[in-house]
Symmetry: C2
Amino acid sequence: MKIFRTVRDIQAYTKELKAQGKTIGLVPTMGALHEGHLTLMREARKQTDIVIASVFVNPTQFSPNEDYNAYPRQFDEDCQKMGTVPVDAVFHPEPAEMYPAGYCTYVNVEGDITKKLCGAQRPGHFRGVATVVTKLMNLARADKAFFGQKDAQQVVVVKRFVADLNIPTEIVMVPIVREESGLARSSRNRYLSPEEMQAALVLSRSLRAGDAAFRAGQKSVAALRALVKAEISKEPMAVIDYVDIYSFPALQPIEAVNQPALLAIAVRIGKTRLIDNVILGGDETCC
Amino acid sequence: MKIFRTVRDIQAYTKELKAQGKTIGLVPTMGALHEGHLTLMREARKQTDIVIASVFVNPTQFSPNEDYNAYPRQFDEDCQKMGTVPVDAVFHPEPAEMYPAGYCTYVNVEGDITKKLCGAQRPGHFRGVATVVTKLMNLARADKAFFGQKDAQQVVVVKRFVADLNIPTEIVMVPIVREESGLARSSRNRYLSPEEMQAALVLSRSLRAGDAAFRAGQKSVAALRALVKAEISKEPMAVIDYVDIYSFPALQPIEAVNQPALLAIAVRIGKTRLIDNVILGGDETCC
């Protein structure tokens, strides 16, 4: 497994691969890899000749009050996990390699899709995501890039700017990977104490309740939101950030679920903010 | 010469070319082609296997009070000229093809290089340029893209976001092409009456005066600016927008020209705004 730390080296590598006619799959990550990430990499392994993963805790997508410095970094352990896929190459740059002195260009998705859900609480977050993903796709000369449905809004935003900027990379969304308990895999789960881990099960439980009600005929967005909120409120340690339903993938407000819709939630358990979602009327079964 | 009007068609064309291992040169234009554009295309012809020119009057780089609607459009005549190069393919989309309903992504170069010179008078201009050039380079899968030194600040901005976003396209700057009179070629020259055309010669004359003084030993930016302004002021029809000198290509303020520097001017002749420049201490001889 090759490891590249500089823009120059990864550019030379991918230029040569494209000259050989190889297809390249990119899996962008911030490291602290779990089964969700590895599932993305295995999917890339199936779909493209070469799999490149990036491990980069991207400073521009964190707000000043967020957990950038505390975000877990464990590159050696990550490499061991990626070796099992296996991944062909890992791009692991320092922040100054990605944002050198004088850096001043940002990809801005100005539509309202970045201002709701996680965008409402995290101003600038999707500007940072769009910028770093554009850079990584260009460096990887990626034919396909793989993202998890867990960050469903991120997938919508990435698809939006890839289409808008005519970036020649296909975006593939991969279903959420969960613990047996139902908890969606997340690098932030490690922040949870055993007691909080138990409390965090309310996220997937409330989504299952919402999905079951929808399948039983409840189409009203107001009723479904109320039901999910009530379910979450049964857990004393849970503080709701949002419980929202939007059309998917357009993320437009709806009153009734007559087309595929994203039921997305963000909940704080102690100091840890967790997100989860289900696509109502989508192809996948719920959590 | 192939003509493409849709994103889908140009994407299919360039994908196939890259699969064949061809190198692609892009010359982005707004049409109303003159010898300056054709020089860019001939340079692309020399440097790359395939030459793609775009002809697209890009609405996002015009301010509401600017000449977007009046900007000259003459596609058939442009095609005849491109046939003499020859160009392999022309991309000529409608605005709705480039900016369809729901479009919301912009490439923002946030540094001060976009806020001086033409950026000071044209807020949003370089955001539009950066966005459309990113789209065109992605659609063309361009190995190289060719820009004229006449829009020197544009070249600096394009090089900046191409480096920042790690876009795998090399930017080539081609020297200014002039009439025998010294007037820099510009699509906007056609707006000039014969009398204004004569008055417009003050632009290149004043740059020659500045360059001559620099070559004779005058390094002071203040003195050189004053000299060029005085020269322009001799022409009663000329109204100065700016006369500025910055380091090149960094475009940083300097007090003395001890390194290559851009002497750039914008002057209104009647209703027409013209720009011109010379790189003091650069490789090229002056106008």
